[in-house]
Every structure is written in C-alpha cells, then in structure tokens.
C-alpha cells in the first residue's frame, strides 16, 4: 500500500506531533508514504477566501506534483489541507474559467494537472483501505479503560462528506473501539473548535473551545482524540486561558494517531506526546513494560 504524502505546514510546525505519530503508525501497518518533493502551501483556507484563483493555483501545483510521482492517492493529514485541495478539485471541475487560469499557471512551471488524483484523509485510509481487522492485529497494548471523546472537527465532513456522515461521523468511533478504548458519546464531534477566532476574536473563539472541553469533561472523558492540527492546537494551547476564565476542564487533547501508537506499543516519547501543553496521563492500569523483542 503506497500513498503520496502531503504534510502541509502544520505537520512540520505546530502539529509536529501529528507527523511524529502518523509516520511510525503507518509504517507499522505496512503503509508506505512518499512525501512530495518540493511541495508548497496547500492554498490555505484564509487565502482561499481572499483570492480563490491564486489559492487554487497553489493547491493545483501540489496535485500536479503528486501526479508526477505516480498513480497514487494523496494523503493529507491536516483537515484544512484536505478541504482546500478537495475544494480546488471541485472548483476546477465546475468552472472552465478556473481551469484555464490554473492550467496557464502550471504551464509556466512546466507542470500539468489531470484532475484525477484522489485527495484523502488518513482516517479514511486507515478504516477503508487498511481495515479495522488489520489494525486490530497490530494492537499489543489495548486502550482498555481509557475513555475517549472522538472529536472530528468540521473540515473533514463539511462541505464534502465523502467517507463519513456530515452530522454524525463514526469512523473514528469505530477505530477507537478497535483499539480497545471506551468511546464516550460526544454530540459535539463536528462542532467548531474556535478556529482562528481564538486569535482574532478571543471572546467568541475561546467560548467555543470551552464548550468542547467542558462537555468532554462533563461526560467523563480522559482524553479528546482529534484529527486536525488546528483543533488540537485550540483545545491544547488555549486550555489554560479557558480554565482561567471558566474553571477546571481537565481533559487533554491528542491525535488519534498518538493513541494508535500507544496501542501498537510504541513509546510515548516517540509519538510526540511530550509536546502537549496538557499532558495525557499514563494509560490506566498499564501492564509492566514488555520485554524487548
């Protein structure tokens, strides 16, 4: 199983822990990720709303690079990249004018884009390509007793609900159950994390972050599992500000791939778990470390 890999800026920066956990987990599952050579900005949600044409050109260059590497699907772990690249594909399909703009720009760079490369999220690939059975086989340290609130964020299911339901996605729920975790019913699974409002309009943004943390705490979750760097950042980095304003909401937020790594028996320090502001407690009733093989 081989995929072209588009990390995007987050996975090399703020969301480094996502890449640090994604790569060993995929390796353990026998999935090969080939990072695009000379990739650039995905087009970015903010840029998309200011200049759609420029943003589409940026996005299309990445897909053109992917097509050059071979007939593999493109994996994009960051939800924003996933959305922008898919949105660009829709724009190109629906608008001949946009096609002309993008083609002309790519021509100038000696590239071409055929429009065929599927842009996919790791959650989709893990559950639908790799399969829960295969994942289950790799679990050596089941997350038994760990209460997890599955939090998807908005961008993987809206507006394009391709691999899951837009209102009540369940892919991560099933994945977590496979890892042995106890899945907490979490009705806010696709609600807004605060997005960039935490920085621009903190009064509004922080309240949204607070609602998510509070409900997870109220439902007794030990940890929130997420798949989006911005969600993870808001819930983790603004945690102290939320607590200062509204009182304790003692729930850390980690990437699903970090939980998978733990279940696969990978050491916590290799999974970027030490990068969290709000640290995850050791797994409940952890058995004695296994003898090295």
């Amino acid at each position: 199983m081989k995929y072209a890999y588009f990390p995007g800026c987050s996975l090399k920066g703020l969301g480094r822990a996502y890449e640090e956990s994604l790569l060993p987990v995929m390796e353990r599952l026998g999935v090969e990720l080939v990072e695009l050579d000379d990739w650039n900005c995905c087009g970015a949600t903010a840029y998309m709303s200011i200049d759609e044409k420029q943003a589409c050109v940026l996005a299309a260059r990445n897909l053109a690079l992917a097509e050059k590497t071979g007939p593999h699907d493109l994996i994009t772990p960051c939800s924003a990249c996933y959305l922008v690249l898919n949105k660009m594909k829709h724009y190109l399909k629906d608008s001949p004018e946009m096609r002309t703009v993008v083609q002309r720009a790519l021509d100038g760079a000696g590239l071409a884009y055929g429009g065929n490369t599927p842009v996919r999220h790791p959650l989709d690939i893990l559950v639908n390509d790799v399969g829960l059975d295969v994942i289950k086989e790799k679990v050596v340290r089941p997350l038994t007793g760990l209460k997890v609130a599955p939090y998807y964020g908005c961008q993987v299911v809206r507006p394009y609900a391709t691999f899951d339901d837009a209102w009540n996605p369940t892919t991560m729920d099933r994945l977590l159950a496979t890892l042995g975790a106890e899945v907490v019913p979490y009705p806010l699974k696709t609600k807004c994390c605060g997005a960039s409002l935490t920085g621009t309009l903190p009064k509004v943004g922080l309240r949204l972050t607070y609602i998510l943390l509070r409900e997870a705490a109220r439902r007794g979750a030990d940890v929130i599992a997420t798949i989006c760097p911005l969600c993870q950042f808001n819930l983790d980095a603004y945690h102290d500000q939320v607590e200062r304003r509204w009182g304790p909401v003692p729930v850390p937020t980690v990437y699903i791939t970090q939980l998978m790594g733990l279940a696969f028996g990978l050491p916590a320090e290799q999974l970027g778990l030490n990068r969290n502001f709000v640290r995850m407690k050791p797994l409940p009733a952890a058995p004695a470390p296994a003898q090295s093989k």
């Binding site: 837009a166 009540n168 009705p187 806010l188 409900e215 109220r218």
Partner: protein, 666 residues
C-alpha cells in the same frame, strides 16, 4: 400542384384563432389568414378572437352551408384541448368529422416564441401543412366498443374505501385490493382529526365495516395487482393474493389462537403501533381490522421456521379448522372497465436528517408515533410518556421535517401544520407539559383551520418561527442537564435560542410510496418530477390520467388531508360511473388496416402488436387486424416489409403532403 386529388373538388375553410392575446400577442393572425387565402383550394380564410366560442363555431357552420366547404382547418390551441370541440362543430354543420385538421399555434408557437415575425412565419408553415393534408382526408366513422361495468379500486385507505363505497352504492361491482392485511390505511392509526377533534375511528370504522358487508364489493386484503392488460372499458387485471395461513371464510376473529400461541408475550414490532408495542407471530393487525381475520407472519412463526411447534393455535381453533399452514399464493385474473388508483403515501424517514437525532435520542419521536401514544387504544392507553415511563414536562414540535427543504423534499406536505397543532392540543389535554412549536410558516388554509390555529395560540402553545438547526443533549446551563436541547434561530426575535425539553416530535412529511415507479408502469401512468402520480390536467382533470379508464385519487397524486382525499375519491368514482353508464367506449378510427393484395403473409407484424390486435387468416394466408383492439400506435405500419399495412388518418400521402407544406417556402 394537383388540387384535384382522389377526393374531387376541394373547398377548404381556414380559421385562425387569436385566443385573446395568447396567440395574437405574438402571431400576426390577419397576416396568416391573408397568406393562407392565397393557397389553392382555400375558399374562406378568416381570423377570429375566440374560435372555440359559440359564435366562432357558428362562423364555421355558416361557411360550410353558404360557401359549400368540404374541408376545415383551424389554427388555434392544442388538439388535446379542442379537437373534439371543432370536430363536433363541423359534424353539426353537416360534414364528416374527420374532414378536419387542427394546427397547434399556441403551445407549439406563440407560447414558446417571442419573435413576432418569425412566429408568424412558423404559423403560416404549419397552417400550409394542414391545408395540404386535409384535402386528402377521407370520411371515417368512429367505432363503438362495449365497456365492462366492474371497477377495480387499488388501495384500501380512506380514499379507496370511499371510492369503492360510492361506486358500490351506485350499483357497480367493485374489486377493492389492499396490500396490507387490513383496510383502513393511515387514518386508522389516528386518534382525532383536525380541526374538529372528532374521533377518527368513529368516522372510519363504520365505513370499513360497510366495505366488508357490501354485496357489490369484493375485498381482497394481503393482495397486490401484478399485471394490467387491455384498455379503457376492457382491462384484464392479475391480482396476487398472498397467503395469510388462515382461511378467511372460516375464521370468525375470536382470536383464541393468538391467546394460545406458544409465544406467551408479543415479541415482534407491531406494525400498526409503528413499533411501539410487540405482537405475536399470529396476530390481528388492530382491534377494528377489516376483515376481522387473524394472520400468521411466516418469517416469525415457529412452525414455519423450525417445523417443531406444538401448534397450540390449531388446537385452540379446534373444529373451525381455520388455520391452514398449506395455503399458497394465488394469482387471480379479473375483468374490469375502469381502475381507480388510491395507493397513498409513505412518511418521510426522519433518520435522513441526522442532526435531529431520531434513532439516537430515544425521546425524539415522529408525529405518527406520538399519534399512537395519544390514542386510548394505543400502546400506552393514551398516556403521553417518555421512554423511561415519566410524563414529559415540556414537549417541542419541529415542523417541515422532510418538507420545504431543498436537501430532502421541496414540496409542502400540507397537513403537518394542522396535524402538529392537533397533537399539541392533545398533549396539553393529556399532560401538563409546556408545548413549543418550531415552524417556518403556519399553513392553515382549510375550512376551520385558521380558527384552530387561533385556538392553539389562545391555549398557550408557544410558536417559534425558525428552522431548527439541531437537536442535541449537550448542556450549557444547569436547566439543560438531562434534557434534549433544541438549537434554532428565532427569526422573529432575531436571536439564536437553546430550548431544553423532555420530548421532541418531528412532524414528518409525506413522500410518494417507495414503489410508486413500479405502480406507475403497471397502470401506464405518468409521474411528476417529485414522484407523485400525474393528473391529466391540474385544474380541469384532477383525477384523470393520460390513460383512459385509469383514475387517481388521494395522496398518491400529492399530499392532502382527509376531506380533500374523500373529495377526490368521490370525483374518481363519478368519472368511472360516467363512462360505465354511457355503456360504450368511442374509439378513434385511426386504426391500421391491411391492403390485402400486397400482404405476403410473412407474419412479422403479429408479435409486434402490443394489443394483440393482429391475427392470421389461414385460408387467404394474410394478416388481419381487429379494429376493435387496434389502438393506432402505428408499430405494424412502420414494420411491414411490403408496406401493405396502412393507417387511417396517417396515410403516407397525408403525411408527405404535410411535410411538403412545412418545407414549401411559397
């Protein structure tokens, strides 16, 4: 051009209709009349404001007499609308009714074009074609065929029941076919009806028993129509009668077998109570079911599943011997002259809008589920209860679930506003709950309905205008703990509200039945884009279809309430009776015929005929067409290798001269 064809001296009258401004607003009618007047054989050419009016028709008749016309062409609207009118007029004027040709310059010209001169040129071309064609017309006679007096009614809801009773009371024999094991349909599940709040069962069940008792009605439940052949006045219908494993003639409905069943308690979802209660494998759909006959659910019965059952039901039935495990499916063929389709609707599946939480939150129910809860004969004996048995302190209704929504169904289901207000009033009657209704617009146009809305407001039911965004159970404030929370924009107050409640009722809309397309094909009907059966004319022929002798009534044609369904049922019955009482069907003489001298007897036409109208005459070794069966579809005419099949009104030379007329730029 040869003006003197096989029909001798031709004297044509041409008339172009203004149709008020409908045609004259685009087409220069006087110019068309002037142009056509120049054609050979045209004796009179006139334009007139309304040709279909009495003076318009008299104009033609006077000309026939005074100017010795022997052909008439009228350029006006669609022949579907007025061909009969003008044929009758020229017949009354003394000509054979087929010495006539109609030109459609309204639907085919003025209504679809805005360029006046071009539309006028098109009208001239079409009129020229008709003038050329009509000179070749021959005198023809219409054919009369007898009509079978029996009627088939498909669907035993309130619509089918009323149609069947109306016909039967008028002395017609009716076959009433119902798919479910009892008649009664959706209405049988209702507690009270709006806006009068009279008991639904008290007005429905007497009609159901009347169906059972009526000497003119043959009632077949648990049955479906599987094949329809023939044409108006003469349909052959095949009905599949599924086995109930209980002999309908022998069962008296004592229900002792149900009592005796090895299942001590009901175990399977009860269809009538929409899954809110359980039934046994042997059951009667509901206490007032018609027929009062039990049935056995083959999928659930131990005898059928394992073969190892003590068959206590058979024991209980004793000497009656009504239980018959050997019953087989039966195909029955019947002959009828008319068919009334009243197959109803299905309710929108609330699970299709996941943000409303149906199926996820147990206290989110549909309107039909609440209907069963408020009914005294329902699973809770009329108590409105939450799933844990508590009485709700607050209930909210969400309107337009699966209606007026471009993501699901765009139409208004017409009854849900009133139905919800009725349920809201009943909830207030049965509990002390606060009731809030979330609506887009309140639509209460029926008789007494606005007054009912007024009463709801006065009784303290709260109305919030706005489509609900979601139903959730995450709490933000203390009073929301343990409740369902509705999030909605209140578009009158201009604020976003969070309203915590105990129970949420989704007012699910109406949809075409899941198999509406199959039923449409079965009866050769059309559907609109939304899947409802299409009436022949939305105003003037609301219960007719494009297939003569097939009528539609009730919700299969579109959402409607009980009074409207009953009105359509009566209308369809009257339309069928009008055909039956005339006693015959008049058939167009546009039938195919064999030019015997040229027929080689190859038989290739025989299997092609969809109406089985072509036979083979062994002594002469020629094909023979039965004009009474021929519907004039033209398939055999086109297929005959030797060109020896012709068709009245569609002779080759008629069609070719029509084409020449369009293409001649004279």
């Amino acid at each position: 051009m040869n003006t003197n064809s096989r029909n001798g001296d031709i004297r044509i009258g041409f008339y172009i209709c203004h149709c008020g401004r409908n045609i004259a607003g685009v087409v220069d009618c006087a110019a068309v009349a002037g142009e056509i007047a120049k054609l050979p054989g045209v004796v009179v050419s006139r334009d007139y404001k309304y040709m279909c009016s009495e003076p318009g028709q008299e104009l033609i008749q006077d000309d026939i007499r005074e100017r010795a016309l022997n052909r008439v062409v009228v350029a006006s609207c669609s022949p579907l609308l007025h061909e009969h009118t003008f044929r009758n007029a020229i017949e009354a004027g003394g000509l054979n009714r087929f010495f006539f040709q109609m030109v459609n310059i309204r639907e085919h010209d003025s209504w679809v074009h805005t360029d006046g001169p071009a539309a006028t040129a098109k009208a001239i071309a079409l009129a020229r074609a008709a003038v050329r064609r009509v000179r070749l017309h021959c005198a023809l006679e219409t054919v009369r065929a007898p009509i079978h007096p029996d009627v088939l009614v498909v669907g035993g809801g309130i619509t089918g029941i009323h149609a069947a009773l109306t016909l039967a009371n008028g002395g017609k024999k009716v076959f009433l076919v119902e798919r479910e094991p009892s008649i009664g349909g959706h209405m049988a599940k209702f507690d009270k009806t709006f806006p009068t709040l009279d008991c639904a069962a008290c007005i429905l069940t007497p009609k159901m028993s009347a169906v059972r008792a009526h000497e003119n009605i043959r009632l077949w439940t648990n049955s479906e129509v599987v094949k329809v052949e023939g044409y108006v006045g003469n349909y052959t219908v095949t009905v599949r009668r599924r086995p109930r494993y209980v002999n309908e003639e022998l069962c008296v409905g004592c229900q002792e077998c149900i009592e005796a069943c090895v299942f001590k308690e009901g175990k399977f979802p009860d269809e009538f109570n929409v899954g809110l209660s359980k039934r046994k494998p042997i059951y009667i759909p509901f206490p007032q079911a018609v027929p009062q006959v039990v049935l056995i659910d083959r999928e659930r019965c131990l005898h059928f599943k394992t073969g190892k059952c003590k068959r206590t039901c058979v024991e209980a039935c004793a000497d009656r011997h009504a239980i018959d495990f050997t019953q087989k499916e039966e195909l029955v063929e019947i002959k009828v002259g008319n068919i009334i389709v009243a197959t109803g609707f299905k309710l929108f599946d609330a699970g299709r809008i996941p943000q409303y939480g149906y199926g996820r939150y147990p206290n989110v129910v549909t309107s039909i589920e609440l209907e069963r809860l408020v009914t005294s004969s329902g699973p809770t004996g009329g108590d409105v209860l939450l799933r844990d048995g508590r009485s709700p302190k607050s209930v909210a209704f969400i309107l337009c679930v699966g209606s007026r929504d471009f993501r699901t169904n765009r139409w208004c289901s017409r009854t849900c506003c009133m139905h919800s207000m009725k349920l809201a009033q009943l909830v207030r009657e049965h509990t002390d709950a606060e009731v809030t209704v979330f609506y887009l617009d309140i639509r209460a146009p029926g008789k007494g309905c606005e007054e009912f809305y007024d009463k709801s407001l006065k009784e303290g039911i709260r109305f919030v205008r706005g489509r609900v965004a979601e139903v959730t159970d995450w709490a933000l404030r203390e009073e929301e703990e343990g409740k369902l929370v509705i999030r909605a924009e209140d578009t009158l107050a201009g604020v976003v509200r969070r309203i915590p409640v105990d129970m949420i009722v989704l007012a699910v809309g109406m949809e075409p039945q899941a198999d509406a397309q199959d039923v449409r094909r079965l009866f050769n009907m059309s559907c609109g884009t939304e899947g409802w059966f299409l009436e022949k004319h939305p105003k003037l022929a609301p219960v007719s279809t494009f297939t003569d002798g097939v009528f539609i009534a009730g919700c299969c044609q579109g959402p409607k309430d009980i009074p409207d369904s009953i009105a359509q049922a009566g209308a369809a019955a009257a339309e069928a009776m009008a055909l039956i009482d005339r006693g015959f069907i008049e058939q167009e003489p546009n039938t195919a015929y064999i030019a015997e001298a040229e027929c080689s007897g190859c038989k290739s036409c025989i299997p092609l005929c969809p109406y089985k109208a072509i036979g083979f005459d062994e002594p002469t070794r020629k094909a023979r067409i039965n004009a009474a069966l021929c519907k004039g579809c033209g398939t055999c005419v086109a297929a005959c290798p030797s060109g020896s099949i012709r068709q009245h009104l569609f002779e080759d030379d008629e069609i070719f001269s029509e084409i020449e007329g369009v293409l001649t730029h004279a």
